[in-house]
C-alpha cells in the first residue's frame, strides 16, 4: 500500500474521532403530524444513557424561512441544555427543509396549532417527560406562545426572546427605527411616516395585491427606502397584521421570562415589558441586556452585518455562544433548570 494511503487512513480515523468529540449532543430527525401536514424537525438529546424521561424545551421560531436549528443560532442553547440534561425540540417552518406547505401561508393561529401538535407529539414520546415541557419563542413567536400558554397547562413555563405584543405597533416602531438609523429627521421623517400610515391603512383594507403595488409605485417617497413586498409576503402580512397578544397574555398563568436587547431596532422593548407586566397572571421576570441586538447578539460583533448575509451565518456559527450577549445562555438555562426542578428544586420566581 502506498504510504500516502496509509497516512490518509490515519487522518480518516482522527477525523472520525474529531466528529464524535465535536458532537456534544444527539440530534435526531423527527416527524410531527399537524392536521393533514407533516412537520420535520430535530429532537436534540443529551449524550448520555438514562432511562428517566427528559424534560424538554420547545423552540418556536421568529419571522422568515427558518430551519429547525435556525441555521446554527440555536446550537449554543442546545448544547447548554443538553449538558444540563434537557432535550430540545424544533422543526422546519412549513416549506423549509422537509416540512409541507409554506410558511408565508400561515397565520399566527396556525403556528399556535403547530405548537400544540408538537406538545401532543412530546406527550407521546416515552423518553420525554410530558410533565416538564417548556417553550422558548423568538420575536414573531410572541404572537404564537401566548395563544397556547393560555389554554394548554402542559406547558409549564415560557421564555420570550425579543417578542412584541401588537403587530401594527411593532411594524410602526421598526419603520421609525429604520428611518432614524439612516439619519432621517424633521420633515423628511414626517413625510415617510405619513406614507407609512397610509400604507398601513391600505393593508388593513386587504386590498388586492395589484392595488397595493400601484400605491407603492405611485406614492412611496424616494427616501422611504423599503422595497415593495412579494405577493406571498403581502398576503402573509394582511392575514396577520391584526394580531395582538394582549388578550391571550391576560390568561397566561405559567411563569414567563422575557429577554430583550437594549439595541433592538425591531421590537419596542419598553412596550413589551410593560404590557407583560400588566397582563400576565403568573410569575414574570424580564431582563434587558446591554449592547445586545434583536437576536441578543453582542453589538460589537454584529453591528453593520445584514442578518440575511452569509457572512452573518458564518460569523454566528464561528462565534457560537461567544456571539450571544453575556448571560443570555446562563439565564435561559437557569430558568429552565429551575422550572424543571433539575438543580435547585424549581424555586418560583418573582417579577422584577
Amino acid at each position: 500500500m502506498h504510504p500516502m494511503i496509509k497516512s490518509a487512513i490515519g487522518l480518516l480515523i482522527t477525523l472520525i474521532v474529531v466528529v464524535f468529540w465535536l458532537s456534544g449532543y444527539d440530534r435526531k430527525a423527527v416527524e410531527i403530524n399537524n392536521e393533514d401536514s407533516a412537520l420535520y424537525g430535530s429532537l436534540v438529546l443529551p449524550k448520555r444513557d438514562g432511562h428517566t424521561p427528559l424534560p424538554v424545551l420547545i423552540f418556536v421560531h421568529g419571522d422568515g424561512p427558518i430551519s429547525s436549528g435556525s441555521y446554527g443560532y440555536y446550537a449554543p442553547l442546545w448544547q447548554a441544555l443538553a449538558d444540563a440534561g434537557v432535550a430540545s425540540l424544533s422543526w422546519d417552518k412549513q416549506g423549509v427543509g422537509g416540512s409541507d406547505g409554506h410558511w408565508l401561508e400561515q397565520t399566527m393561529t396556525e403556528r399556535a396549532q403547530q405548537l400544540s401538535a408538537a406538545i401532543d407529539w412530546v406527550a407521546q414520546q416515552p423518553n420525554l417527560d410530558s410533565q416538564r415541557i417548556g417553550v422558548i419563542g423568538f420575536s414573531q413567536a410572541g404572537w404564537v406562545l401566548p395563544q397556547v400558554l393560555a389554554k394548554d397547562e402542559r406547558l409549564k413555563y415560557a421564555i420570550m426572546v425579543s417578542t412584541a405584543v401588537n403587530w401594527q405597533q411593532q411594524g410602526h416602531y421598526q419603520t421609525v427605527q429604520r428611518l432614524k438609523s439612516v439619519g432621517q429627521e424633521g420633515e423628511e421623517l414626517t413625510q415617510n411616516l405619513d406614507y407609512n400610515t397610509a400604507l398601513d391603512a391600505l393593508l388593513k383594507q386587504k386590498v388586492p395585491y395589484t392595488q397595493y403595488k400601484q400605491f407603492v409605485t405611485q406614492s412611496a417617497p424616494q427616501s422611504y427606502g423599503s422595497q415593495s413586498m412579494t405577493k406571498e409576503r403581502y398576503e402573509f402580512v394582511i392575514n396577520n397584521m391584526h394580531v395582538d397578544a394582549s388578550s391571550a397574555l391576560m390568561q397566561v398563568k405559567q411563569p414567563v421570562l422575557a429577554l430583550f436587547g437594549d439595541s433592538d431596532a425591531v421590537v419596542d422593548v419598553q412596550n413589551s415589558i410593560s404590557t407583560y407586566q400588566n397582563t400576565l397572571l403568573g410569575p414574570y421576570q424580564y431582563k434587558v441586556y446591554e449592547d445586545a441586538n434583536h437576536a441578543l447578539f453582542k453589538n460589537d460583533y454584529f453591528s453593520g452585518i445584514s442578518k440575511d448575509s452569509i457572512w452573518f451565518g458564518v460569523k454566528m456559527n464561528w462565534l457560537g455562544s461567544e456571539g450571544f450577549t453575556e448571560g443570555f445562555i446562563d439565564d435561559v438555562l437557569s430558568w429552565v433548570t429551575n422550572h424543571t426542578q433539575l438543580t435547585n428544586g424549581g424555586g418560583s420566581t418573582n417579577g422584577e
Binding site: 494511503i5 444527539d26 430535530s42 412579494t230
Partner: protein, 334 residues
Amino acid sequence: MENNVTDWYKKQRESAMWDMLFSCVLEVLVVFAVILLITPFFETLNTFWYGFFLILLPMYIFSEAASALGKLRRAVLAHEAELSAVPISTLCDKPIFHQWQCLSVAAGLLTVLPALGCATLYYLSSKSIVVMVVLGILMGIAIFIGSAMLFERYAIRLVAGTLQQARAPKQLDEAKSIDFLITYHFLPWLVFTTLVFGLLMSKYYLGYVADAGEVSLSSVAVYSFISVSFVGFWSCHTVLESIKADMKLQPMVLSGVGKFSYSDLVGMILGAGSIPWLLFFVIGFFVPVLSSGFWLTTIAAVIIIYAVLLGVGGACLLAFSQSQKQVSAEVCSQ
C-alpha cells in the same frame, strides 16, 4: 529495461497519488461547500445529505479513480516509444483496456462501505456547521483512499492493456465507435454529473421556493442557460483528452463529421444552451411561476442531462475532427 518501466511507473504513480489527493479533497470540498451554503444550508433536508454520502461518495471514488487512470493511459501513450520493448506478459496477465473498467460490482460494493460509514457518522453527529465541515474533509479523504486503492489495483493492468492496444491499434467501425463513446464516455459521466449537479440545482430551487414561495420561469430560464453552459463546458473538458487518447488507440469512424474547431464547440454549447432559455421564456407567458419541488427537480435533472449530452457530444466531434486532421497530416507527410 524492466528497471526503466519500474522507475517510469513509480514516477507516474507518485504524481497520480498527489493529483488524486488534491482533486478529491478540493473538488469534494467545493461541492460540499456549495451544498452547505445553499439554503437551508447545512440543516434539515437530511435526504440531500444522505444522498450525498450514499450515492455521491461511491460515484466520486470511481470518477476520481477513472480520471487518474485516464491520465495514466495518456502518459503511456506519450511514452510509448520509451516503453516499446517492454514485454506485456511481464506486466500482468489480465490487461484492461479502458479506465472505466475499474467499475465492477465487487468494487462497487466496497465503495458502499465508506459511504455507509459517512452516512452513519452524519446520523450520529450533532450536525452543526463545524461538524459538517469536518465531515466534508473526512469525505474527501475517504474518497481519496477509495480511489487511490482502485488506482493501485488497476494501474498496471491498464498500462499493459494500453501498450497492447498501442502496438496493434484496431479500427472500430461506426456502430462500434458510437457504442464505445456512449459506453465509456457518455454514460459514466452522465450518471455522475446528473447526480452531482442535479442535487445542487434541486437543493437550490427548493431553498429558493422555501424562501420566496415560488421561482419565476424567467429565473428558471436564466439558471438553465447557466447550468447548460457550465456543465456543458465542464463535461467537455473532463472527457476531451480521454476521447483523444481512445481515438489514437482505436481509430474510429463517425461519418458526416467534418471540421470542428474550438470556436465551433463554444458556439455549439452556448447556442444550444439558449434553447432551454428560450423555451422557458415562452412557457413563462403561460406559467409565469413554479413552486412545485417535483417539477423544479425534474427540470434541473433534464437540463443537466442535456448539458452532458452537449458537452460529451462536442468533445467527441472535436476529438474526431482533430484525429482526422492528424491522419491527413501524416498521409501528406508520407
